[in-house]
């Protein structure tokens, strides 16, 4: 047998992930590793991939670039992982890319966990694969949706006062959306002290439709304060901050969400009729008892699922090269929980490129309007927003890579 690739042994393949497990930035995200492991374990119980188990090594970077880098180096040099999997955070990923430079080392960076569009740039990041639709895409699409459904209404926007927000603003601008009230908040400031301020502003501005384009905690505080102030506009929640499970867990009365518009690329975590949600939530419940099945878990497990297919597609003796080649060649056709298409190809590192819209039920669950998913797709550039006819292929048997 020829020399095996780094991180690949006869019995297992190692992946490495850096993610904030502690510290203020860790909220919610610290469930992702558990989710990935949950799926990997399930997969391994069912024979793994070509007889090899998939293993995840997790490092806590506390959301600090300096640590993200040293942890990444540990993963590469000490733990000898085959590829980096879903490293989290825009600035951390930029730091890793430019300092550790996996590109030059030929180490795959699969499915970076950020909506920053830049990582799809193949020249700059030759081994990096994005997966989340970019914030710009989301804003463009949401813009189109608003035009279509809420034309002429007075619009309000809550957004994060950093790149996440500025991408959003750029996207809405492209979509030609004008907001009557724009409320920025400093990332990390969302809380009891600030939320009432947002709402009074939106109220004073007389917003009829309010877009919550922040993180989940921001949505939570905005919604609960709005309830307290009897402010009930038409809510539209972005995918980042629209996770029904988390919102409800945080004690926001379900009633408030009723009829709010939500968007996502994955099925709603509360939609148990969805085959993926059903399977994943079962697996997760067994693996991490007592922990709620929320969006982060959903995305985490989905990422693991896609990774497994990539490994499978990379052949009997997968190498870093063959792994990336496999994604380039077959990535677009990988099965996934996503309700929008994947766009991997030899020339594209873009993962999901669209969203579907639905409404929150009286129970506070995000459901497609009268049962069918309305999916829009676009790109991070000047491209138009198109209603997609994409139909998600059925889930392979037992949710294992075929």
């Amino acid at each position: 047998a020829q020399a095996r690739e780094v991180g690949v042994s006869a019995t297992e393949i190692k992946f490495g992930m850096t993610v904030p497990m502690t510290g203020s930035a860790s909220l919610g995200y610290n469930k992702i590793p558990g989710a990935v492991k949950a799926y990997f374990d399930y997969l391994n119980e069912n024979g793994g991939v070509n007889g090899r188990n998939l293993k995840l090594v997790v490092k806590d970077d506390r959301y600090v670039p300096m640590e993200a880098i040293s942890k990444t180096l540990e993963l590469i040099l000490k733990d000898k992982v085959m590829a980096l999997l879903a490293p989290l955070g825009t600035s951390n990923n930029i730091a890793i890319a430019s300092s550790v430079n996996p590109g030059r080392r030929g180490i795959p960076v699969l499915f970076v966990n950020t909506g920053f569009s830049g990582f799809a740039n193949q020249k700059k990041y030759p081994t990096t694969y994005a997966i989340l639709p970019s914030y710009i895409m989301e804003a463009k699409i949401m813009g189109a949706y608003i035009k279509e459904n809420f034309a002429g209404k007075k619009l309000g926007l809550l957004y994060q006062d950093d790149d996440f927000g500025s991408d959003a603003l750029a996207g809405f601008k492209q979509a030609g959306i004008e907001f009557a009230v724009k409320v920025p908040y400093a990332s990390g400031s969302q809380g009891t002290a600030t939320a009432p301020g947002w709402i009074t502003k939106l109220q004073a501005g007389g917003a009829e439709v309010v877009v919550l384009f922040g993180v989940t905690t921001a949505s939570i505080f905005a919604l609960s304060v709005a309830a307290a102030l009897k402010f009930a506009p038409q809510w539209i929640l972005g995918s980042v901050g629209g996770d029904a499970t988390t919102i409800k867990l945080a004690g926001v009365p379900a009633g408030i969400l009723f009829n709010a518009v939500g968007s996502s690329f994955a099925p709603a975590t509360t939609d148990t009729t969805d085959e993926y949600v059903k399977l994943f939530s079962e697996i997760y419940a067994k693996a991490v008892p007592g922990s709620a099945f929320d969006n982060n878990v959903m995305v985490g497990m989905n990422t693991a699922f896609i990774t497994a297919q990539a490994v499978k597609a990379a052949g009997a003796n997968p190498t870093r090269k063959s792994l990336m080649a496999a994604i380039n060649a077959k990535g677009a056709n990988f099965a996934s929980a996503g309700l929008v298409p994947l766009n991997f190809s030899s020339t594209s590192r873009v993962g999901y490129n669209g969203f579907w819209f639905g409404k929150y039920s009286s129970a506070g669950d995000l459901k497609p309007v009268d049962g069918k998913y309305v999916v829009y797709t676009t790109d991070s550039g000047a491209g138009a927003v198109v209603k997609s006819t994409y139909k998600r292929p059925a889930m392979p048997a037992k949710g294992l890579p075929n």
Binding site: M66, I69, S91, I94, A95, S99, V288
Partner: protein, 329 residues
Amino acid sequence: MHKVKSSSHLRTFIFIGFILFLISNRVDELRVYQGIQVAVYVVGISSLILLTGYSGQVSLGHGALLAIGGYSAAVAKNIYQIPTPLTFVVAVLITAFAGAILGIAAARLSGPYLAGTTLTLAIAIPSIANQFKVFGGEQGLLFDVGFPPLSLGEDFTQYKWFFWIAAACALISTWFVKNILGSRYGRTWRAIRSNDVAAELSGISIARSKILAFTISAGVAGLAGALLAMSISTVSPSAFPLALSFSLLTGAVLSGLSTLSGVIIGSVILVAIPELADVVAHRIGSSEAVVTNLPGFMVSALLILTILLAPNGPVEQMRAHKAHKAHKT
């Protein structure tokens, strides 16, 4: 305290440099990178020892000064295309200037009031990056020192290059700081700390000395910031969290506030502990919750133990211990 024969110091420092050079050729890239981190901490901590240990001004926000240094370097390089070596100088100068201004305010503040101000500074400074576009927002700015000169050979890695730069800077700045602390300036600061009226009666201008201390300390911190930026090739708000300021203070205490000799110890511990803690945690860690939180727990515990058992740092502790032994016999 301890007299300074700077000439012999110079030799020691050159010797250390040579050792480091040899080491850097033996160890793997990870260790080299950690070497860079150590160097960054050495510079940062020595700056803090000068300010807090000698001139008695407690700074809870030294990370902010590092941030200023890092951003100055990055802006100087990206926007004004200043040649790389100069960017470090720029970082030092600009941060020193900022330090001088801070020092003017600080000179009027006592203990907790200064601590409070510096703390808020550490919270505020990084978030400024999102207010002005030049600082590149959350993604921050790239700071690319460039590849090692080819003359050093093909297999000469980026990090080894960074390490050489960082180590050189660290050695030089530590040598400067050591000399200054050993000179009448260091003596003056200690005098003020122990009795300001008496110091003033001896012809010392308290405000001026304190501001001077803040300026020098800031300059050194600026260098640390630039080096940090180099090591991660970027600057971004999240690179200078409040935790960084606390780590530096921790490192200063682990090194021993009253002398520079222990600075390397503190820095190494800062870098080594998280990794060790990780290993230990995975050894004994049963549940997920334990594995993720044990490292933090151990670092904090170590901190408290040090302050309980060796409040003046290992070096002083050994010195005291020796003295004690000598006394017994």
